[in-house]
């Protein structure tokens, strides 16, 4: 039989390459494994990946290519919100199921018929952080975020929801992903009256530099990061300065600390083991997003017993109780992500490792 | 009537007085030569007159109009045109195109008609090409009609500058060492060119170290030294001036 064709646009190079790279590796590893095990519906799975370098325009052309030339049955990808948004209209117009790996909530709100996503939204991350702050009695915070897509959208979402937690943002600073030093911004935050915590939204080396500079300035309040730093690389780069940093993260980063009753435990433990054995590098939650996307897609194809696009779409929407690396996923016609806030755990970094903190 | 008046003109470069308090006039229709030792300020004077430099002080009047401070292209529109001692050829163009640029002011150079290639633009341009070919023949560049400027020898480039300046159809033509790089026979050809230009009513201001040329064709000569006027008069007068002889000509000049 013809293979099942999965198309993927990922930011394998460029500023978001540390999202796209693990995503690509993950997809390739599991597709290979699934084929070894006989494929899906008795058909082989074929993966076609194009690197968009993080550019929306390239993402759009490559998506067209996947749909028109490669005639894929389903799309996974869009490592970033911008590339996802660029590809999204094509999926809608051509009626191809599309599972995005990007964070921003605009991807699934309002709901688009053919578009789904696996990562937690930036809004959820913000809510998780703010409720943790609220619990600890924090009412005034400083925000610092990077001016690229993820940080910018995270900041905007944070500002939208922060009020409802009774928290006031008294400083709101921006940095560029490649700035060598952000002590100026942090000094401004430090000097803002009454700051009780600082929240950084960003990924890549930026948050590591923020963390180091934070320590350098001896700022004595807690530092919160977003789920954008939920990879060991962050701890490696910022070193000791990460001590005490708190962030929302999927269970994947702390598989051993999950209670035995947690249904996620076996899934994340196995994924972490597979990934780290195959690539000799630490697993990141981004790799997990790709894993979840692939599993959801293949499960839906299995249930649809065909690659008929409409049927597959319907089955993805019916995904229910799927246990993934990101949490429990139950989608519905009004929720194309299907993760509940409980999918996030609050973790704290202690002695260079993640520690579950609730 | 005098076409050009230079009054108390000075130019200083960080302490060097290249031209200092210089006053002289050029009569319409004359061939007026400027001579003087190397570094006397002749080229600087040309640059001041044609607007390439702005004077430190003093003024320049062209057709009794104050022109110091004006841009070179404005002066070109008033009827000044020149050649350069350090060649300013458009090496990215053909020889004949260099000359055609010289005719720029006399062409339809409005933007929209050019963009739309209206017939009158192309017609005028074709005529211009023929006219410029004629000028090239006139200065002795007949065999370079199809040449790229970049492939021409030095002497030919000097002539090309003359043709380009002529294409502007100036009232006053300033030539900075037109015979440099030409041998005696070739210089005599340029003599003829200059004389013909002058007899057509164009005033010529000439800087040249070829005394045979200068003494042979000038109506009037101004000699400079250290930026100041050393002597002035007819060729015979200047040649006999002992200061000019000792500063510039030498005994066997």
């Amino acid at each position: 039989a013809d293979p099942i064709k999965i198309g993927s646009i990922l930011s394998v190079t460029g500023p978001a390459s540390f999202l796209g790279e693990p995503e690509k590796k993950t997809l390739e590893m599991y597709v290979e494994r699934i084929n070894k095990e006989g494929g899906v519906l008795g058909r082989k799975v074929e993966l076609v990946v194009y690197d968009d370098g993080g550019a929306g325009e390239k993402a759009s052309t490559f998506t067209k290519r996947l749909i028109e030339s490669d005639k894929v049955d389903l799309l996974i990808g869009g490592s970033t919100t911008a590339t996802t948004m660029a590809a999204l209209p094509l999926a809608e117009r051509n009626e191809v199921p599309f599972i995005s790996l990007a964070g921003a909530v605009v991807i699934v709100e309002p709901v688009k018929k053919w578009v789904f996503k696996t990562p937690h939204t930036d809004k959820m991350a913000a809510e998780k952080v703010f409720s943790d702050m609220k619990k600890r009695g924090i009412t005034k915070i400083g925000m610092i975020s990077e001016d690229a897509g993820f940080g910018k959208s995270g900041r905007d979402q944070s500002l939208l929801v922060v009020k409802s937690y009774g928290i006031e943002v008294v400083a709101d600073e921006i940095y560029s992903p490649k700035d060598p030093d952000v002590t100026a911004q942090l000094t401004k935050i430090k000097n803002a009256p009454g700051v009780q915590a600082v929240f950084n939204f960003g990924f890549g080396q930026g948050p590591a530099i923020v963390t180091k500079n934070f320590k350098q300035l001896g700022i004595a309040v807690p530092l919160y990061q977003s789920h954008g730093v939920a990879s060991k690389d962050y701890i490696k780069l910022a070193g000791d300065a990460t001590e005490g940093v708190r962030l929302p993260a999927a269970g994947l980063v702390v598989p051993d600390q999950l209670p035995a009753t947690d249904p996620q435990k076996p899934v994340v433990t196995a994924f972490k083991k597979d990934y780290e054995a195959a690539f000799k590098s630490d697993v990141s939650t981004f790799a997990g997003h790709a894993y979840d996307g692939l599993q959801i897609a293949l499960a839906a194809i299995n249930r649809a017993r065909s690659t008929d696009k409409a049927k597959v779409r319907d089955e993805i929407e019916k995904t229910s109780g799927y246990v993934g690396t990101g949490g429990l996923v139950s989608m519905s016609p009004t929720d194309h992500m299907g993760l509940s806030p409980s999918a996030f755990h609050m973790v704290e970094i202690r002695k260079g490792d993640w520690v579950l903190s609730n | 009537m005098s076409l050009l008046k230079v009054e108390k003109l000075s130019k200083e470069f960080g302490g060097v007085h290249a031209v200092e308090d210089l006053t002289f006039t050029v009569e319409t229709g004359h061939i007026h030569s400027i001579i003087g030792p190397n570094g006397a300020g002749k080229t600087t004077l040309f640059n001041l007159i044609t607007g390439v430099y702005t004077p430190s002080s003093g003024r320049v009047l062209f057709q009794d109009r104050l022109v110091s401070g004006m841009k070179p292209y404005e002066l070109a529109a008033l009827g000044m045109s020149r050649t350069f001692q350090n060649l300013q050829i458009f090496f990215n163009m053909q020889a004949i195109e260099n000359v055609m640029v010289g005719h720029h002011l006399h062409l339809d150079r409005r933007f929209l008609p050019s963009l739309l290639r209206l017939p009158q633009v192309t017609r005028r341009d074709r005529e211009c090409r023929d006219y410029c070919a004629g000028l090239m023949e006139f200065v002795g560049l007949g065999k370079y009609l199809d040449a790229d400027a970049a492939s021409m020898p030095y002497g030919a480039l000097k002539r090309l500058e003359i043709a380009r300046a002529l294409a502007a159809q100036p009232k006053m033509l300033l030539l900075d060492e037109p015979a440099a790089g030409l041998n005696a026979t070739e210089s005599r050809e340029i003599d003829e060119v200059i004389k013909k230009v002058a007899s057509s009513g164009v005033t010529v201001v000439l800087v040249e170290h070829d005394m045979k040329m200068v003494m042979g064709i000038s109506d009037q000569i101004t000699a400079l030294d250290y930026g100041r006027k050393l002597a002035e008069g007819t060729p015979a007068e200047v040649r006999a001036n002992p200061e000019v002889v000792s500063a510039y000509l030498g005994t066997n000049g």
Binding site: A55, E57, R65, D147, G149, K152 | Y73, V101, L116
Partner: protein, 315 residues
């Protein structure tokens, strides 16, 4: 006479290539790539007037491209302005902006000019990224089809033909200009500014003129691109975009209208061709760029022409 035939011949050849290329297009993805190639080609034809003919470098033209795109996006989406009006208004604004910055900027030479134009491009990029309230920020903004007089340009095929006609028109305009006294003056500016000035060429005005013209070219294409793609991000105005345009011009051949087209087409197609070699893409692209410039230092088209000519003469 000779000129006439070379001219009409060239335009006819371009028209034939545009018309015949779709024979090999098996689906709309090919049309899409074709349209992008021609968009880039039009920008490069304009940019080549500035870089190739007038000899003034610009590392900021992606900024003008992005302004055109966002101008159209914002005006049509947020204010309901008809697409053609939005395109025109954006082009006018870009033209005015280019005019305003041109005079001081174009006094600079060489790398200093490159720096200044780079700065302008980057400032535009930062504004587009930061003013999220209007532009949608780094995540970009969506916009609708290009509607004009009750007629909608949609679908890659229709875009292909519209862009093809525009490309031919742009090439025609550009050829007209450079073969006119204005174009000759521009090339003279490249050769020697003083030399041009003393025969009456107002060099700074010409530089400003060509800067504005090339910026408007970029803006118009930016507007069309935005409608065609339906989604734009500030990154279309990034420094890389500008470098990319310049690379196309130089690779294809400076001071060659068709060279700019060839350069644009090649550099648009290459990433599509190289996508299959995955991680080696960058290395191969780099080698191709270096190799082309080493073996064809005047750019693809002019160098090929010289080789052809000398072969003919050799016979």
């Amino acid at each position: 006479m000779n000129l006439m035939t070379a001219r009409t011949g060239g335009l006819a050849a371009l028209a034939i290539v545009v018309a015949v290329a779709p024979v090999g297009f098996s689906n709309s993805y090919f049309y899409d790539v074709g349209v992008n190639a021609m968009f880039n080609a039009i920008v490069c034809v304009g940019l080549n007037l500035l870089i190739g003919y007038a000899g003034q470098i610009s590392l900021g033209h992606a900024g003008f491209f992005a302004l055109g795109a966002y101008g159209s996006g914002i005006l049509t989406e947020r204010y309901g302005v008809p697409a053609i009006v939005a395109l025109t208004l954006s082009a006018a604004v870009v033209g005015i902006l280019a005019f305003a910055v041109a005079r001081p900027i174009l006094k600079l030479k060489g790398h200093y000019l490159a720096m200044a134009t780079l700065g302008i491009g980057i400032i535009i990029h930062i504004v587009l990224k930061t003013e999220a309230g209007i532009t949608g920020g780094p995540d970009g903004m969506s916009l609708g089809n290009f509607k004009m007089l009750g007629f909608t340009i949609k679908g890659d095929q229709m875009w292909y033909w519209v862009t093809g006609v525009l490309l031919i028109f742009a090439v025609w305009l550009s050829l007209n200009l450079i073969e006119s006294p204005v174009g000759r003056a521009l090339r003279a500016v490249h050769g020697s500014e003083v030399g041009a000035e003393v025969v009456g060429v107002d060099t700074s005005s010409y530089k400003v003129l060509v800067f504005v013209v090339s910026a408007v070219f970029a803006s118009v294409v930016g507007s069309l691109f935005a409608h065609k793609n339906g989604f734009i991000t500030p990154d279309i105005g990034s420094f890389f975009g500008s470098v990319h345009f310049v690379t196309m011009v130089v690779l294809g051949g400076m001071a060659s209208v068709y060279g700019a087209v060839v350069g644009a087409v090649i550099l648009t197609l290459l990433p599509q061709l190289l996508a299959v070699v995955e991680q080696y893409e960058a290395m191969i692209l780099g080698v191709i760029m270096m190799g082309t410039m080493i073996f064809m230092p005047k750019g693809l088209l002019p160098s090929l022409m010289i080789k052809l000519k000398s072969r003919e003469a050799g016979r």
